[in-house]
Amino acid sequence: MVDHTFVGHSTPRIDGVEKITGAAPFTDDLDFGPDLLHAEVVASPHAHARILGIDTYLAEQVPGVVKVVTGKSFQSTFGLYLEDRHIFAQDRVRFVGEQVAAVIARTRTAAKRAARMVIVSYEVLPAVFDTDAALADGAVELHPDLADYGRVPWFHPRPGTNIAHWRKLRKGDVAAGLRDADLVLEDTYTVPRYAHAAIEPHAVVAELSVAGRLTVWSASQSPYTQRNLFAEALGLSHRDIRVVTPYVGGGFGGKAGVTMEIIGAALAMTVRGHPVKLHWSREQEFVNTYQRQGLRAHLTIGARRDGTITALQHTLHWDAGAYVEYGANVVNAAGISATGPYRIEHVQLDSLCVYTNLPPGGPYRGFGYSEFTFGLESHIDRLAHGLGIDPVEFRRRNAVVGGDELPYGAQMNPSGLLEAIDRAADAIDWGIEQPAPSPTVRVGKGIAAFWKAPAMPPNAGSAAFLKFNEDGSVNITVSGMEIGQGYLTAMAQIAAEVLSVPPDRIRVETPDTDRNAYEWQTVASHVTWGCGNAVLAAANQARDRILDTVHRALGHDVASLYLVDEQVRSTTDPDLALPLREFVVTGLEQPSDGTFKGGPVVASGSFMPEFTSTRSDPETGQGGKPNVHYTVGAAGLVLEVDVETGRIAVRTVALAVDAGTAINPVAIEGQIAGGVLQGLGTVLYEELRFDDGGRLLNPTLTDYKLPTASDIPDRVIPIIVEVDQPDGPFGARGVGEHTMIPIAPLVANAVEDAVGVRITSMPITAERLYLALTAEDG
């Protein structure tokens, strides 16, 4: 491994002091003066209904109310990948909580009071709340206009049904592969819906100036994507829209794309000259952003006695909710990668995006992989046991390695899956039995592997601007979003490595689309890689300019010049030691005549993965190169089950992830600690529950339990594997989402190891496990 000065060294976050002192601004912290108006939405109480009429008269009489806005004012559709949404419901509502109208008032209290006085009359329609009902013959059709919606070319909707997208993948001959197997195992796994539950709720402030310029401040992972969708939906030029995103208090996919922000932007269009603020309550945060989609996965895998997997058939029915403009791409991503990180000759994947009358589904850390890996890695474990092969060995035998052909024909990138499996297993003393602390407690160990690729359009770009300051410090403006993952610090380290300026002398700014360079979105765990490449290009350009200036002013050969310790040095002239701060803005004086060469050093860089393509055969999924690369890893876990209560106590989790090159090891360790606990929440107790009318039963943090400091495992062991990503900045690839992916099956596998019971539905609550245990006894 190459030894770097800044890259690869654990570096305290450059935003650490701001956050620890309360100085870091979040959207809701910004002040807008007495001119600020407040908005509240009127939400549908029905899961599916026709809107017969909206009476705003009473609401308009409430003192302080400025305006009541309905869908009449905004009729265009929008959506990231499939344009199936309206800013406000038009003729019908499709989930409980959908925005039908909004009140703009001088105070939050007045807006709330008036919103309750908007009278909407509905004709209730039959509704569907799960994929079976939505796919049944004669099911009510949620989107009769599906055929007319704009969409990306790689989506394949089935108009006339509730299937918004069906991703198919066919490789080899699955029937033959299953015949060839010594053991074929078939089962169904269910995964409920989950909430991101970032601690900061969504917030937006938008203002259309009297001169017609729209500025939007939002808590978002996607400032440029928001600008783009606002421009299209509101009919403005991109030039006239400015999106500013201060720090974001947790994203996890929930603040990707556009959700409630477009309501704020639209409302601003109706009250020219006034900023309008919309701030989600916790309940609205649960109901009207994105939820993680529910999944029912039917899985058949065959393997030979020697441990070779011969065939895999995976049918995924996604409960994608009322609108799938973003969620359908989650379904797509799963539909090309739901083999997991294994080399399998015969594959059949069917991933169906199904409309239901539940809140819109969307991206959540793991982007489909967290969901399908529960069933897949549970199944892999069961096959291993069925064949009498050690689960670690079984995974090793089938593990994908660099150069393998992927299910859709492209080649696997270099990756350290085998090393990850070995190190995760070693870390939990795999194969060594651990004594139980008491007679009613059983100890179990589990193992699981994972992979995930960024799911992006083939032309998702990143760009960076960089400038030097008079004291030799550096400012970088990019539009990736610091959502906690440590992105700003990683970008500073990448530039630092090239420029020899330490990260704490580099400021990386949060986005403002007027000033910061382009970034598609901060999703897919791709910004370290994509935006990192843009920052690297900008830093290289700045370095070239610096060296060129020295060459032109002092005559040194450029090839002999290099940067170290914030100076320009020369391999041929040991006396040359030019501090950057002396000339990166004001230029270098020429000894001969006192004139200056150079000038303020500014640079830019941009990056796009020019090798990807989503063109594939819709019937087989063959062709194209839809994924830039995969990040792989494995995890091991030790837990205890109290057989008298079904309670699970997680003792140790070891998670190994292949970061390519770790830019900032401490940040990766942070992603591991955080992702592991988020995963444990989903498998042990979190779950969104709905009544039979589609109303969310637990929209509070009292009833939707998040893990607390008392719920953490005794030990989380982070393991960083480093097999270079050849096209990554210094060899890096993303790891942020991945750390959550293996956790659910890991627990399921360890539970079976402990008590011999296989749970195929998440979450594995104490109650569910206890009932399974007692059923087993009976």
């Binding site: 002192t21 309360g22 979040f26 900061e200 906690g484 440590g486 942070g670 400091a709």
Partner: protein
């Protein structure tokens, strides 16, 4: 009818007229201009709105502004006036936070803990922190910073022999 309320916020005296139903969280953020207490749930579940009321942590979304008449409040802005505290320094060094939204509340809860229990055990730190939700970090880097800060403080005040 407004109520006159006199209070100290981070050492500064304030006199305000507040409505009977106004929450301390709202008053701090929009009237006093202190933004570190954050709304996360506005019903007492998350702890992101934590402030110290006469040195004891409270959830400012559950306190009426009229109740703090004559009391002293400390927010995280008030802790760092003379530079970062020992605890804050350890938190920066260990990159304890990710998005940082929970940080102001957690810093105050941990500050209170160390004031009443300068050498807490790990499980005591966990118990003290368990009313402050953090969705990002898995808590471990936060707990480590609290324990390290406690150990450093102990080493400087009472050197072991």
């Amino acid at each position: 009818m407004g109520h006159a309320v006199a209070l100290k916020v981070n050492g500064e005296s304030w006199s305000l007229e507040v409505e009977p139903a106004e929450l301390l969280l709202e008053v701090l953020r929009s009237r006093v201009g202190i933004k570190s207490p954050k709304p996360g749930c506005e019903r007492g579940d998350c702890g992101s709105c934590t402030v110290l009321l006469d040195g004891r942590s409270v959830r400012s979304c559950l306190v009426l502004a009229v109740e703090v008449d004559g009391h002293e409040l400390t927010t995280v802005e008030g802790l760092g006036i003379d530079g970062l505290t020992e605890l804050q320094q350890r938190m920066v060094e260990l990159s304890s936070f990710q998005c940082g939204y929970c940080a102001p509340g957690i810093v105050l809860t941990a500050t209170e803990l160390l004031a009443v229990n300068p050498r807490p055990e790990r499980h005591e730190v966990q118990a003290a922190m368990s009313g402050n939700l953090c969705r990002c970090t898995g808590y471990a880097p936060i707990i480590d910073a609290v324990l390290t800060a406690a150990a450093t403080a102990a080493a400087t005040t009472a050197p072991e022999v």
